[in-house]
Symmetry: C3
Subunit: 253 residues, 3 copies
Amino acid sequence: MAVITLLTDFGLADTYVGQMKGAILAIAPGARLVDLTHAVPPQDVTAGAFLLWSAVEAFAPRTVHLAVVDPGVGSTRRAIAIRSRRGDVFVGPDNGLLFPAVERLGGIDLAIELTEQSYWRPGPSTTFHGRDIFGPVAAHVANGVPLQSLGRPTADVHQLHLPQPRGLQGEVIHVDAFGNLITNLPAAGLPPHFQVLVNGRAVQAAQTYTAVEPGELLALVGSAGLLEISARDASAARLTGATRGAPVYVQPL
Amino acid sequence: MAVITLLTDFGLADTYVGQMKGAILAIAPGARLVDLTHAVPPQDVTAGAFLLWSAVEAFAPRTVHLAVVDPGVGSTRRAIAIRSRRGDVFVGPDNGLLFPAVERLGGIDLAIELTEQSYWRPGPSTTFHGRDIFGPVAAHVANGVPLQSLGRPTADVHQLHLPQPRGLQGEVIHVDAFGNLITNLPAAGLPPHFQVLVNGRAVQAAQTYTAVEPGELLALVGSAGLLEISARDASAARLTGATRGAPVYVQPL
Amino acid sequence: MAVITLLTDFGLADTYVGQMKGAILAIAPGARLVDLTHAVPPQDVTAGAFLLWSAVEAFAPRTVHLAVVDPGVGSTRRAIAIRSRRGDVFVGPDNGLLFPAVERLGGIDLAIELTEQSYWRPGPSTTFHGRDIFGPVAAHVANGVPLQSLGRPTADVHQLHLPQPRGLQGEVIHVDAFGNLITNLPAAGLPPHFQVLVNGRAVQAAQTYTAVEPGELLALVGSAGLLEISARDASAARLTGATRGAPVYVQPL
């Protein structure tokens, strides 16, 4: 019973996610469908790439990940399926969306440009490849169709790199719904004792939220293995005014 | 393993959808549950009818569709199950919500007024028939209970017709989360070359989003087979100010 | 095929819920996952406890309920699994979140403090026990692991009691997405004829929404068996200005 995860910028107010699931289940009735999120900001490929990156490691190897943030739908941008070295399969537009997640799971083992239309929904629209191409292809992969059957191998995958820190200078790469500021600074690079500067605020490092008083800021290693600036029972985004892209400086103490 | 889709105006902030799913799974533990949307504007039967219409064609025949937008719950409005000519089954209030979707799948093959209380949750509430009547009935249908067992056949189903265009004059029938303006003008009726007038703006026709510059409006046939007014990487609703019901004129060129 | 329900304050904009599901399915690939809600106000344990209470009765006995509203994550607050007398299992932080729902299903049959780390994700984070402890434990329970294997029995469960009415004086304990004001006044305690006072407004009792005109307030017994103040096709919260905690008085007529 294969698991197919879904990540899109479709939102939940329309039936687009439901239509995509219908197209999948019509082909792979036994597939397990798991929503990662459908609240990627519209057309924001980089935000989607981070969110996909954040999620995939929690799933068992051989999971199929279907992701659609696709401002180029209907144009000449290619459709791809990528198998990671860990054995997971990613399906979506070749615009960089899938790349960081594939890298996290060991890098590209095989990439296929999706050209074999017999695995698509007949008469695909020019605006909704999630339902008409990516969903059906993911379903066929879940059914055991070999990647090689779906098109031709390609060595030319669109690369997208999440912003990288320079030593102890990083940036906010995601603001979550709690208002936590997730930075791109990995735990491994942090000094034993430090404070963090963000938007002119000095924030102390701590191990857990309860190390500070309610409403106070702290910096800690979050569940993605990245430095996060948080506030106990409050929103660090609101307290600091920082948004995505804000510079973050780690100062050893 | 039957698929049951769910469409409601319950939102996701409460546990109403979860309660409905609990009631279904208590009866049909093997059913696959797929959310279409739960963000139908409260009590807006027409909006719900469009959204249900938009989704059902992507699912395999014999799917069970459970839909609840039900301002008349607890009153004398009837509860119904309808089998389409394609073989899908729809369960919900008899207020027109189901009608356009059934029509899309071939029209009514059999309609049953739900009167057989042994297929309901014992002691149903007067405010939540989704959990207490429609959900249990959908579960029994998924289990293979014949429609005829659920009540008495009726020829008198409440009809609701989505707004129809007059030739090349239509209207916006849905604004999606991207800000696309979905009209009621079907692709088949469009001239070979045309522009579109909406809210005093002339919008050029195109095949794909990338045919125009970012931020520009275009008119194209969307994934529902209907004319849509969109904007590349932007919201056509915001750019035009148009809302549901806004007149749309197609001008042949 | 065990059902695991999920209730959190994670929201749906991030991939936290998805990560938790990935961790569960990696251990229990056959488990059925049902979202109750992920829109509990951040860190609001009491609101989460009410929402969990509201949902569990609709599910079959032996369901596994996983709930995470966890301001004390990473601190010394304990992690627990509780079996209700009805046979359901609850997994989450020992902060009261689970308590009212367990009481609703017959009270505590067995409570276990989760200390056996072999049932956790290796190297659990200090910020995301939903993915790293509670999810894996719920998955093992769904797989049939006896509760006693997960840690040591405890008689010292954190108790949280939803606000109780004093006779005919109660309060609003939840405002739902329709704007219904759910009170803590149970149907059984209501006089045969009454009106309700809330925020200086007198509201008449009725059996169904359609007993009043559109836009008018009414008080009726809702689907949780509690008195609710509603408005036909409108929001009682907006019409009355009442919020959670607002006093509600029942006046016999």
